[in-house]
């Protein structure tokens, strides 16, 4: 290629302006330049293993195999939820090219709860309780995927929608779903309602092992797909027009991500109920830690960070605060504060 532009451009060697210095400061302060993503992943993997080990063995008394099985199931549930919430939030933010909207904020889990409520309302709790949990779960997930794909696809493939508008639509949709659910709950028999309540607020302490196993397999499969698409996600984060220019089939990939997000949200909501700000918290932290923008680094870090937050948090909660409060309350509090901070800081553009 011919060299066309003169190398003596006056603008080239100038030092960063005041704006550059400012943005540089806020990010660099959180993550020193010297830590490479690889080191970070190794350190965090070790921390995760340590958390799990402490959680499994601390003050282990009585029947060993019983206690270990119980704790094992709880750790498994937390791992599955951490990966499901983390990955769904990361993907969602990437395809919508924003850093503040998450599936929960857009009403995905409200939709899942509406589907569950409607199922109990139409079929009755006895049908639901006697049904094979795997079958019931499959039906719920299929309904969830169909509805969310129909509902949200137009919102994200339009290409014109402003982020403010989407946020507003998400909040309205979420409120609508919650309103519908509570209307149905008021209309049903009190005994049915109690069954339903049990479904929503199943905490980490009472997870069905069969359901957990199915969920773990599905989440692992979805995580495999996400990992395979990591380079495409890097391109998608450049925005729709640039991604299309670079040959990404935008419509197809947005639909795929919505389907995957629906599955992941259905799984985490089925296991532990709705968590609104957990994903936002974990993904924002991951972005602060990974200096090089690449999904190959973000994907593992989001998963590990989620696991450390949940397992470590649960550990602190049980040992330090003596179960005085639910972990989700603390996570929601911290996540909610972060959400407000991001809004005020002006990340919403």
């Amino acid at each position: 290629m011919p060299k066309t532009l003169s190398p003596s451009s006056a603008s080239a060697p100038r030092s960063p302006g005041p704006a550059g210095a400012r943005t540089g400061f806020s990010l660099r302060s959180l993550s020193p330049k010297t830590i490479s993503p690889r080191t970070l992943i190794i350190v965090m993997a070790l921390a995760t293993v340590a958390c799990i080990a402490v959680f499994m063995t601390l003050e282990l008394r009585g029947n060993l195999s019983y206690a270990l099985t119980r704790r094992g199931i709880r750790v498994g549930a937390m791992l599955v939820v951490a990966v499901a919430v983390g990955l769904s939030t990361l993907m969602f933010q990437t395809v919508t090219a924003n850093r503040i909207l998450t599936p929960s904020i857009m009403g995905f889990d409200a939709l899942y709860i509406l589907i569950q409520t409607a199922l109990v309302f139409v079929l009755g709790s006895s049908t639901l309780l006697t049904a094979d949990p795997a079958l019931k779960f499959a039906i719920e997930v299929v309904l969830m995927v169909v509805f969310s794909a129909l509902l949200y696809r137009w919102l994200f493939t339009g290409g014109t929608g402003s982020l403010h508008l989407m946020l507003l639509v998400g909040i309205v949709i979420g409120t609508l779903f919650r309103g519908f659910s509570s209307l149905l709950q008021r209309l049903m028999e009190p005994s049915e309602y109690i069954v339903l309540q049990d479904l929503f607020f199943a905490s980490f302490n009472q997870v069905d092992p069969v359901l957990l196993l199915i969920s773990a397999v599905i989440v692992a499969l979805v995580a495999g797909v996400v990992w395979k698409l990591r380079k495409t996600f890097d391109v998608l984060a450049l925005g729709r027009d640039t991604a299309v220019n670079l040959g990404v089939d935008h419509r197809r990939i947005v639909t795929l991500v919505l389907v995957l997000c629906s599955i992941l949200v259905a799984i985490s909501t089925a296991l532990v109920g709705p968590v609104t700000f957990f994903g936002l918290l974990v993904v924002s932290l991951a972005y602060q830690m990974v200096r090089k923008f690449s999904h190959a680094a973000l994907i593992p870090i989001v998963c590990l960070l989620g696991a450390i937050t949940l397992i470590g948090g649960q550990l602190v909660l049980e040992r330090v605060f003596g179960f005085a409060t639910a972990l989700s309350v603390i996570i929601e509090f911290a996540g909610g504060l972060l959400f407000l901070y991001l809004l005020l800081k002006g990340s919403l553009k």
């Binding site: 011919p2 550059g20 495409t232 670079l246 923008f293």
Partner: protein
């Protein structure tokens, strides 16, 4: 060659591009001019499949853009829009590297690396390679984006207002580079441009649009006349010939 066959697009009842049919020859620089709201940028977006058309058809080098897989199109055509917002913190080098995605699928080879370096050199970005995009001025960022589509190494290059944010020096350098891309590398460059004098001096063909309709098409000599420009812009523009180039004077 780009064949455009009665392409139409309307937004909520307003027709922005109205049954435009024409042929843009392969090779050379083609400029699309016209007043604000004439549908220039929309036409470029329709040609480049960024916006779906309501009716009509476009083919580029024989590839029907409606039927050809996006990935295959990305190897023969690159498009850069006016506004590009990125929420991620990216270095110039990484952004330019994305231009190789259609070829490398995200796993760049030594060959890809060569294209990236050449594109950065073309746009005088070598010294800025490790700077973050949000640390650059508007003009530097504009050049980084152009370097990205240049690294894509396509036969067809569509640029929507490539002079946006550029000062006089960089505008002239940009137009010279576009000229060389056509003359020395045989690329077909289509640009949307507001400055009729740049269009006059640097293009082989000019398309003039008004209210969604393609009203004139021809060589700079044919388009740069008082009558044609009055028809397009509704103002009287005096045409002077300076060093063989037709220059429109419209400042007073």
């Amino acid at each position: 060659m780009i064949c455009i066959d009665s392409v139409t697009k309307s937004y909520s009842g307003t027709t922005v591009v109205d049954a435009v049919s024409t042929t843009i020859p392969a090779g050379g620089v083609t400029s699309i001019i016209g007043p604000n709201g004439a549908g220039k940028s929309t036409l470029l977006s329709l040609i480049s499949r960024l916006v779906p058309m309501d009716s009509g058809a476009v083919s580029i080098a024989g590839l029907d853009i409606g039927r050809t897989p996006s990935k295959q199109l990305a190897k023969s055509m690159a498009i850069l829009r006016q506004e590009n917002h990125i929420t991620m913190r990216l270095r110039v080098r990484d952004l330019v590297g994305f231009g190789r995605f259609p070829h490398s699928g995200g796993h760049p080879t030594a060959q890809d690396e060569k294209h990236i370096l050449a594109a950065m050199e073309q746009l005088d970005l070598t010294q800025l390679a490790d700077r973050f995009l949000d640390e650059l001025s508007g003009g530097q960022r504009q050049r980084a984006y152009i370097a990205m589509v240049l690294a894509q190494d396509t036969d067809y290059l569509l640029l929507d207002e490539p002079l946006n944010n550029l000062d006089m020096k960089h505008s002239v350098e940009m137009m010279r580079m576009i000229r060389r891309l056509a003359d020395e590398l045989g690329k077909t460059v289509v640009i949307v441009i507001h400055d009729i004098n740049f269009a006059s001096c640097y293009s082989d063909t000019i398309l003039a649009m008004r209210e969604g309709v393609l009203v004139h098409q021809g060589t700079p000599a044919e388009i740069m006349t008082g009558d044609v420009l009055r028809d397009v812009y509704d103002i009287d523009i005096r045409i002077e010939e300076i060093d063989g180039n037709r220059i429109g004077v419209y400042f007073a």
